[in-house]
Amino acid sequence: MGDTQERIANHPILGTYEKGEPVTFTYDGKEMTGFEGEPIAMALKANGVMVHRYTAKKHLPRGIFCAIGRCTDCVMVVDGEPNVRTCMTPLKEGMDVRTQYGVSDKPFDEQ
């Protein structure tokens, strides 16, 4: 994990941001908070999560890259479903978000 990224509380041009209700979700079992409706990737970023998945062959880390649903670098296992584009998928209360190893939520040595 990188340094925790702050959310921008007050922006000189945009002011404050419209957000949904605060929600709790889990990342690899660890409880985190975010706002309902924001992309999962944004909530993870705000919590300092950088790595979303490891590639199938070389086991290299990937994270947010394009943030508009084109590159698929940010896919994770969400509520048991692999390959979910976290930059496009809205966050909901109680979501189970897991690092994706290849196409599984199990680390490679357990696969």
Binding site: G2, K45, A67, M88
Partner: protein, 523 residues
């Protein structure tokens, strides 16, 4: 299968503009967009646009997006979101993925306004988390209020790289360097200058050697390149960063047009459709507008959209040719106005040596992102006189004239040729209202009082950062290069609805620093 008079693919600036013109003419229009929100990239654009009034100059991009969307919705345009157009088939039939379904539609005409995708460059470590596209940075900070990183290196000095660097500073991030392999700054000099004066160093003829880190970016090494873009050994520089932002150009997303059988042009760096002035492709009834037809600004994309919307209405008999052509010609003139000056599409890649006025271009601006002290005095907007007066550090011919419109006393003149550099009209007196400073999309206008007594002078500058300095606060005045040049005291801070979030900060500095002090940093 549902039929429409017009199907538009892409709800960005050009697609929405086309929809508005067609719907005004009573056409039954649908716009499909694969995103959850309409507006394309407009809602990420928080700077004031260039151009003149007819091009929505000095209005911020996201506000233009809101205006377009409201106009389209008021006219009854059906905007279908989360709808990915998967293919265009003969007779203008399309298939669209919506949720778990694939739906089939037919249009009597189709306007493709799919925009562009970001280009990427590869280097050691480029796949590490923390290497992001400039568009991703904009999405994070401007749509979702998330800082893309704390310490960031920007690669690319085109307008996207410059504008996004400035936005990163506005979001509270530190930009440690702006790097480009090209030997000269690619974007507008004024965009570069507003970044440089905050203290961001520019490294032209440099590019990234490698990104460091195991699980995410922890640093980056850049090095100088020669004229053949080969690294020069021994010129490496290292920066501790957590984020590397790539702004290395855009490519049209023209796949649907190719699939539809439109004739394509491969002679340039990216494949674009062959189109006429109205955006008509080689396939009857299929049009292409905006970035998919060739990368330009959102301002021109909106006009192209309007032009195609009018022509489609004529083509299908919803508009009389004579009446439509009149409207069309107005847009042709507006578009022509935007395609003037040094950054006109026909000048792409050329090195311009002199302004249209015959003045030597600032070499330092192209090499380092700011106009040098010994260059600034040669531009017509920079003059010396008694009392408060505007100094317009506008040194490149860009089609833009909000400063002229903004001045209630007609002190500033651009003239009928909107790429002219602004100058002061002799005899008209500045009343220090600050409207020119706030209206300049390039943040290149300063109000100067060269002598306020006691050996002091005052400089009023545009300021779009938080926290806003307060009256009486002391700090350092920074030069155009972003280097501290003297002590400065804030004597006045002005904010007004008319300034549209551009605050005016006035600092008092020693008299001999009045032509050097261009930014304020609290200490």
């Amino acid at each position: 299968m549902k039929r429409y008079d017009l199907i538009i693919i892409g709800a960005g600036p050009s697609g929405l503009s086309a929809a508005i013109e067609a719907a005004k003419r009573k056409m039954n229009v649908v716009v499909f967009d694969e995103n959850a929100r309409p507006g394309g990239q407009l809602f990420k654009q928080i700077h004031k646009f260039f151009g003149s009034k007819e091009h929505k100059a000095k209005i911020r991009g996201f506000v233009i997006g809101e205006q377009l969307l409201k106009e389209a919705t008021d006219l009854g345009v059906d905007v279908e979101l989360d709808s990915t157009v998967m293919g265009i088939y003969p007779n203008r039939e399309i298939v669209v993925r919506q949720g778990d379904h694939v739906n089939h539609f037919k249009g009597d005409s189709i306007i493709v306004a799919t925009g562009a995708a970001e280009n990427m460059v590869t280097f050691d470590g480029w796949t590490l988390p923390g290497v992001i596209g400039a568009g991703a940075a904009q999405t994070m900070m401007n749509l979702h209020g998330i800082k893309p990183g704390n310490k960031i290196l920007m690669l690319g000095s085109g307008n996207v790289g410059l504008v996004v660097s400035y936005q990163l500073l506005q979001a509270g991030c530190e930009v440690v360097a702006l790097v480009d392999a090209a030997p000269r700054v690619g974007g507008y000099g004024v965009h570069a200058s507003k970044v440089a004066r905050t203290g961001v160093p520019f490294y032209l003829s440099h590019t990234i050697v490698k990104a460091d880190g195991t699980d995410h970016v922890t640093g980056v090494t850049i090095a100088e390149v020669d004229s053949k873009f080969q690294f020069i050994p021994g010129t490496e520089k290292h920066f501790d960063v957590d984020t590397i932002c790539l702004a290395v150009g855009l490519s049209p997303m023209s796949q649907l047009l190719k699939m539809a059988g439109c004739e394509m042009d491969n002679s340039g760096p990216a494949e674009v459709p062959v189109i006429d002035e109205s955006g008509a492709t080689s396939v009857p009834g299929i049009y292409a507008v905006g970035d998919v037809a060739g990368i330009e600004e959102a301002s021109s994309a909106m006009i192209e959209g309007r032009m195609a919307g009018i022509k489609v209405a004529e083509y299908l008999g919803f508009e009389e040719a004579e009446k439509g052509d009149k409207e069309f010609d107005k847009n042709v003139a507006a578009l022509d106005g935007l395609r003037q000056g040094m950054f006109a599409p026909r000048n792409r890649g050329k090195k311009i040596e002199k302004t249209e006025e015959g003045i030597d271009i600032s070499e330092n601006l192209l090499l380092h992102g700011f106009v040098a002290d010994d260059e600034i005095e040669r531009f017509p907007g920079v003059t010396h006189r008694a009392g408060v007066h505007p100094v317009m550090e506008c040194t490149q011919n860009i089609p833009c004239n909000p400063c002229e419109d903004a001045c209630p006393k007609h002190v500033i003149e651009v003239g009928s040729n909107i790429t002219n550099l602004p100058h002061i009209v002799e005899g008209n007196e500045c009343i220090d209202c600050g409207m020119c400073v706030a209206s300049c999309s390039g943040q290149a206008i300063f109000l100067i009082n060269e002598d306020t007594g006691d050996g002091k002078a005052e400089v009023t500058m545009p300021y779009e950062f938080l926290p806003l300095p307060t009256e009486g606060q002391t700090g350092k005045a920074l030069s155009r290069e972003g280097k501290p040049v003297c002590d400065a005291t804030v004597v006045r801070v002005r904010s007004s609805k008319a300034y549209d979030h551009t605050n005016l900060v006035t600092i008092s500095v020693p008299k001999d620093m009045v032509m050097k002090a261009r930014f304020f940093k609290a200490v």
